[in-house]
Amino acid sequence: MKGIAETMLRLLYVSRMQRWLTGFGLAVMLAALYVGRHPGAHGLVALAGTLGAMIVVIGPVVAGPLLFSAMTAPRTMALIPHGRLKLVLGAFGSQLVLAAFIAASLHAMNDAPTVTVFALAFGALTAFFLGFSLTIYYRLAWVWLPLLLLAPRMLPAYPHLGIRLTSPQGLVLVVAISALAWVGYGISLVKRRRIPLSSRSRAAIPRTPVTYTPRDAMRIMLNGDAKVRRGIILAVLFFGAVFFLLTLITAGAPRPGGNPALAFALTTCFMAALMPAVGSGMLARRGARRLWLTSGKGRAELFVAIESQCWRLLFFAVGAGLLMAVPLLAMSHHSVPAPIALVALAVLPLSCGSAAMYACLLYVRGNRFVDILIVAANTLLLLGVAFSAAVSSPAFPFLIGTQIILVPLLRQVAARRWNRIDWLFLRQPPAAARLT
């Protein structure tokens, strides 16, 4: 029991930062609940409360599968009696706790039906956790990702699906399928003699030339990969194909309220920007250490070089996202999208991507309270911008305006941090840790 409880705790509190985020998210939630009781409370209060709940769960949801994979991979785990079984049960328990938290918080803030939300959240969390865990080991397993987009796209188009899903039989089915998935995953994990290392260990060796310009060399040293752009293109093309198929499937179906196609396109561009921004920002922090002695650049120069590298990647990702989203949006609407929609499609990812990038770049001093606060506030604003855009909230212009104003400030903070960057904190993990 102790092993299971310990695993649950580890997966829920991945790091010290997660504890801070949990505290921050709970504080926002409680404040929203308190303010929301007063008659005439603004709709933004409920939105803030929901965002608070998201801040609490986003860390364990995203980092949990990563940590779980790292915990299950060592061969020594197979030597511990029922070691893997305890890990699986701990992971299962952590997802139950998360689903219960989501259900309770949504019920408290929006009077959402607890059982329905719990069942659906448990199903979604199970799909994400198991899918993500498999993706870490098997390169092709990432095709599960578009399934996450299926529900938001299909449900508005076919409302009867939603009604069936939320009926008692539908909910029982969701929980039963989720539980079965856990049982299947657990058995396969416990039975497996040896868990393969990350799929990246079998990655193809890039056939790049063995002479480089200093600029290319810096780029590769920072990203750790010579073919980042190809990866982005493939991902965007894949999502484009999924978008196209979904558009065909749901064409002509009723679309009650909002504009799902625009929301979908916005989400795609948002994610296209966010992933490379966060990824390149995080990689650059460590990669820059490799360049301190070899590139001949000072700390300030390195920051500028890394910043421009991140921006290039961001522009490239957003450009690729737009190239895909705009024609499909036009096809979905049978007309050219309105200029305001195009502006939103370009501005939203650039603003959110740059804010996320600078937040990553400024986080170089370890877990300091001020930095955690900045990152948490930035994440909150980022989620606020994304949600308000998706639901066409009147708060969107205000929120994105605030974010655009804050981006230069974040840059200033990041640049100042880099002038005193201490790479003792940003060393490569030992090879053994990297392999597991």
């Binding site: 060796i205 890039p206 790049t208 002479t211 200093p214 070899t294 700390r299 005193r420």
Partner: protein, 292 residues
């Protein structure tokens, strides 16, 4: 009189309230091979990282080639080679690509030297780095640090992952490199026998401070174990200068001192009315005594 390549004065480092380095003041002259030795957590890596400008010092100064370590200019960085304790290779590349990247960044590169070492050390360059063993990765890291023929080479436990044969080859190569172009080497290690093979100078680190710094021969001559057999009861504290350990039992005592000299021996014999047996210590014994 030559200018020191490395100079530190009162160097200190505190991380989250914990003192990692305290009052480190050392000099490294050109052409010397300095071995840095200390227990795990003694502060060796932190010292090297501050010397190289990776990390700011909390107090004191650190200078390389006369320049502040934290703001090293490009020209100075080009004269430094570094092998970190945990390699910083790009996993998705091959060894050949990794070397080409480093060559492109440095601008100056000696492909003949690298090819000779690669061949002698049997480093596979056409396999993905992530598939290399720990020792092969280490060898590749060393090649990267040597390709631009640095004047000052800093190595943080460079032989930890190497097998005995590779370790011996590496040490021979280091001796050749140090002698050939009057290069300066500063390396940390746990393998004391390696230090005895190649180091001119030894720095012993203990609890973040330099407990002893000087020539290897001087260290061996001045750090000795004394066995004292007196004709009378010995005092509770022996009048020994630089004693790092002493054990008393009536008229018998044993002690390890760091500043032994014949003159001290004569004085002690008279003062304690004792026979004193002086025993030289191996470097490993000295290291153990320093940390006893």
């Amino acid at each position: 009189m030559t200018d020191s390549l490395v100079t530190t004065r009162g160097l200190g480092k505190i991380i989250r309230g914990k003192t990692i380095l305290r009052d480190v003041s050392v000099d490294v002259d050109p052409g010397t091979v300095v071995g840095l030795i200390g227990k795990n957590g003694a502060g060796k890596t932190t010292l090297l990282e501050i010397l190289l400008g990776f990390s700011p010092a909390t107090s004191g100064t650190s200078r390389l080639f006369g320049h502040d370590s934290f703001t090293l200019p490009a020209a100075i960085k080009g004269r430094i080679g570094f092998v970190p304790q945990q390699d910083e290779l790009v996993n998705l590349l091959t060894g050949r690509q990794q070397l080409a990247l480093t060559a492109a960044l440095h601008g100056r590169w000696n492909p003949d030297l690298i090819e000779r070492l690669r061949s002698a050390w049997e480093v596979p360059l056409d396999r993905a780095i992530q598939g290399l063993s720990g020792g092969e990765r280490q060898k590749l890291s060393i090649l990267m640090a040597l390709g631009h023929e640095p004047d000052l080479l800093l190595l943080d436990e460079p032989v930890a992952s190497l097998d005995p044969i590779a370790r011996r080859q590496f040490l021979q190569e280091m001796v050749g490199i140090a002698a050939g172009r009057s290069r300066t080497l500063l390396f940390s290690t746990h393998i004391v026998s390696d230090l005895e093979r190649i180091a001119d100078q030894i720095w012993i680190m203990r609890d973040g401070a330099i407990a002893w710094a000087g020539a290897l021969d001087t260290l061996k001559e001045s750090v000795v174990r004394l066995t004292i057999l007196s004709r009378k009861l010995l005092p509770m504290t022996l009048p020994l200068s630089g004693a790092i350990s002493q054990h008393l039992a009536g008229s018998r005592a044993s002690a390890v001192v760091t500043q032994w000299s014949e003159a001290q021996g004569v004085r002690l014999r008279q003062e304690l009315d004792a026979e004193i047996e002086v025993e030289s210590l191996s470097l490993e014994d000295i290291f153990v005594e320093f940390h006893a």
